[in-house]
Amino acid sequence: MTVETRMAQMADPRIGSREMTYVEAARAGLDEEMARDSSIFVVGQGIGARGGNFTTTLGLYEKYGPARLRDVPITERGFVGMCTGAAATGSRPVVDFMFIDFILDALGELINQTSKLRYMTHGRVKVPIVLRGCFGLGGAAATHHSGSYYPFFAHLPGFVVALPSTPADAKGLLKMAIRTDDPVIFLEHKGLLNSRGTVSGDPDLLIPFGVASIRRHLAGHGKRVTVVAISGMVSKVLAAADRLAAEGIDVEVIDPRTIAPLDIGSIIESVRRTGRLLIVDEDYAPCGIGAEVAAQVVSDAFDYLDAPIKRLNANFTHVPYSPPLEAEVAISVGQLDNAIREAVHG
């Protein structure tokens, strides 16, 4: 039985489904969980009465009050350490970093405390904590508000790293993250926040970690290629696949949804069908997700490959402010189309 079938049996995505934006969907998921479990609280700057810089908590302060929607001083290390202690003693914090760049001030706490407490206590202390924030290029947010950083966390034992690409996944993965008894890094690409999609109203529809979604299946004619796309790149790759169909290129698009755990099995199955692989990730190439996927595919599915594995990443540089400079760093439509062509014909 596929995971999709199993999930369909467990929860009906048609219940109360309606179209909403990505940020609305995540907020609906947070609201449902906070209503269900009074030990959940949110911390962040401006997430109280203001409702969050990205409206991640809009309207929730009025429902749940200041102890559960706690505006904090700008002290990332402090409130991450504080929330780790809270999680270890029976509450379920959600840390809203606004821009994920700010998580860097808390890395010592996250790595040495948050991710290690369960292990160090031999499984006797659990740390149910969600660390969410917006990431990625776009909007001239400039050098300190445009980073990604997720390979850091995927490199370390103890973290889930979730990168939802659709409104439905934003809700289902956030609810799963909140109910999980371990740290989850939950990352929302800034370019996706206002994207729209159909989202279930079923309060128990969760999306499990480590289960990729095939966003586009092979059409069955043309030259085949598997493209693994991360977060904000998924919709861009789907658009490219539509364009390139006219050139006789048949793209299967895999969205891993979580990079830790990584559903390498779904990627390898796809490579068996196509023989070719491209990984499109806006984050940097060196030691990144593309490198990890490529290494695992070469190790476990070398015989299925008909061509070298390719990667497409943003420029390996810091992120500038001025729109033409920022656009130069990002992955362009032309680069994406060419990368898919090269993966097919190269």
Partner: protein, 446 residues
């Protein structure tokens, strides 16, 4: 001049005052005068000393400067003289800003309402301090024999602090400790056997052999962890306080940390968060005067960590960390404040470790033998024993029996650890996470 009133004491009870140092300010009908000490000694301000601002005739005894023996006999929380040039030096301290705690009571506005509460059990305090000392001495010998692997930071000389603080806690209260955490673990309810086995790396240890000396855990009794990183315990305890405030579970949490952590960002961020949200947390700074081997006096201009509490709107107390009764009293006040919803307290316990930073480390070049000897002479266990004997309420035979009993417990703990098995190597990667890829969680999923 016929009458006068005390404006401010510039020294604390128990503090060593040098001849010529300013002692207090007295307001007469003409002027406010700083009064200097005519001889050196430990300041005693008796309970019948006039209150601040009270008009009294000349000739009234305000306080006395005592010898160390006299001060000890009076049960003063004595604060050491400056025997080492670069060490923490006594400084004019306003008791209004840093209330002092002594065996006879608590001064300071914030503490006045909390003079009732638990009974102190001196024999239990004595037993626990002896237990920590003798178990650690046995562990230090085991380290020399190669039976304890890796680092081993002992608490020898500082036993009064963990003992006195934990005596004011329940099993549900949580503590978060440091790399020097054997004493905290034992005082909170880890058995000597579990501690020894953990240091021996055995499966029967309190962390199953995963942690060793620096990473002791027994959440079942509220020992939420000792840590190899200086500072985070302050934030973690603050978070435990947040849970207690949110869920109204009645627990308090305690962070134990050294003077080294007081210069770390975690200290400032944690104290600020705890006060701004009025959390039930007690911050216990064990100021043993050296951050590893760096003298505190060389890395902070403020000799009293407790005074930093004022910057966050929190009461801060300085106590003699080698006087278990003084620490007990400060902890009682702090725990009551926390339980009654009055928020966090910072206690600075001045103390000293008389063994090296870590067993087997070179312990020269940064402190003198004279200084170590001085602090050995101020052993908290011998101090309480002398008090109990002098007071005549506990027969010496009982104290001796406790020592013999604990010696046996320490021997048994080492034997237990030696006989215990190694952890199953195949479990090395267990408990990294609780989830499995592809599985749903929550129980409520249909």
């Amino acid at each position: 001049m016929e009458t006068g009133s005390i404006v401010e004491w510039l020294k604390r009870p128990g503090e060593f005052v040098r001849q010529g140092e300013q002692l207090l300010i007295i307001q007469s009908d003409k002027a406010a005068n700083e009064i200097e000490a005519l001889e050196s000694g430990y300041l005693d301000i008796p309970s019948d000393s006039p209150a601040l601002g009270a008009e009294v005739p000349i000739g009234t005894v305000l306080g006395a400067l005592l010898t160390e023996a006299e001060a000890l006999a009076r049960g003063l929380p004595i604060i050491a003289p400056d025997v080492h040039a670069s060490k923490t030096s006594p400084r004019a301290t306003s008791p209004k800003q840093v209330p002092s705690v002594s065996a006879t009571g608590v001064t300071g506005a914030s503490a006045v309402a909390y003079t009732r509460g638990a009974e102190r059990d001196d024999v239990s305090l004595y037993r626990e301090m002896v237990r920590i000392r003798k178990v650690e001495e046995a562990l230090a010998r085991s380290h020399q024999q190669g039976l304890v692997h890796g680092a081993c930071h002992t608490y020898v000389g500082e036993e009064a602090i963990a003992t006195a603080v934990c005596a004011n806690l329940t099993i549900k209260d949580t503590i978060w400790s440091t790399h020097r955490g054997h004493g905290h673990a034992l005082a909170k309810g880890v058995t000597a056997r579990e501690l020894a086995a953990e240091l021996f790396g055995r499966e029967t240890g309190c962390a199953g052999g995963r942690g060793g000396s620096m990473h002791l855990f027994k959440p079942e009794v509220g020992l939420m962890g000792t840590s190899g990183i200086v500072g985070p315990c302050i934030l973690l305890a603050t978070g435990a306080g947040y849970t207690s405030a949110l869920l109204k579970d009645g627990r308090v949490s305690v962070a134990f940390f050294g003077d080294g952590a007081s210069n770390n960002g975690a200290f400032h961020e944690g104290l600020n968060l705890a006060t701004v949200w009025n959390l039930p947390v007690i911050f216990v700074c064990e100021n043993n005067q050296y951050a590893t081997e760096v003298p505190y006096a060389t890395v902070s201009k403020q000799p009293d960590v407790a005074r930093k509490a004022d910057g966050y709107g929190m009461p801060g107390f300085v106590v003699d960390g080698n006087d278990v009764r003084a620490v007990w009293e400060a902890a009682r006040v702090a725990v009551e404040r926390a339980r009654e919803g009055h928020g966090p307290t910072l206690i600075e316990a001045k103390t000293y470790r008389t063994r090296p930073h870590s067993e087997g480390m070179r312990d020269v070049g940064y402190r003198s033998v004279d200084e170590i000897d001085y602090w050995k002479s101020r052993c908290p266990i011998q101090y309480l024993r002398a008090q109990l004997v002098a007071e005549g309420v506990v027969p010496v035979a009982i104290l001796d029996a406790i020592e013999h009993e604990i010696e046996e417990e320490a021997r048994d703990a080492i034997a237990f650890a030696t006989a215990s098995g190694w952890p199953d190597a195949s479990t090395a990667a267990d408990h990294v996470v609780g989830w499995k890829a592809g599985e749903l969680v929550g129980g409520a999923v249909r």
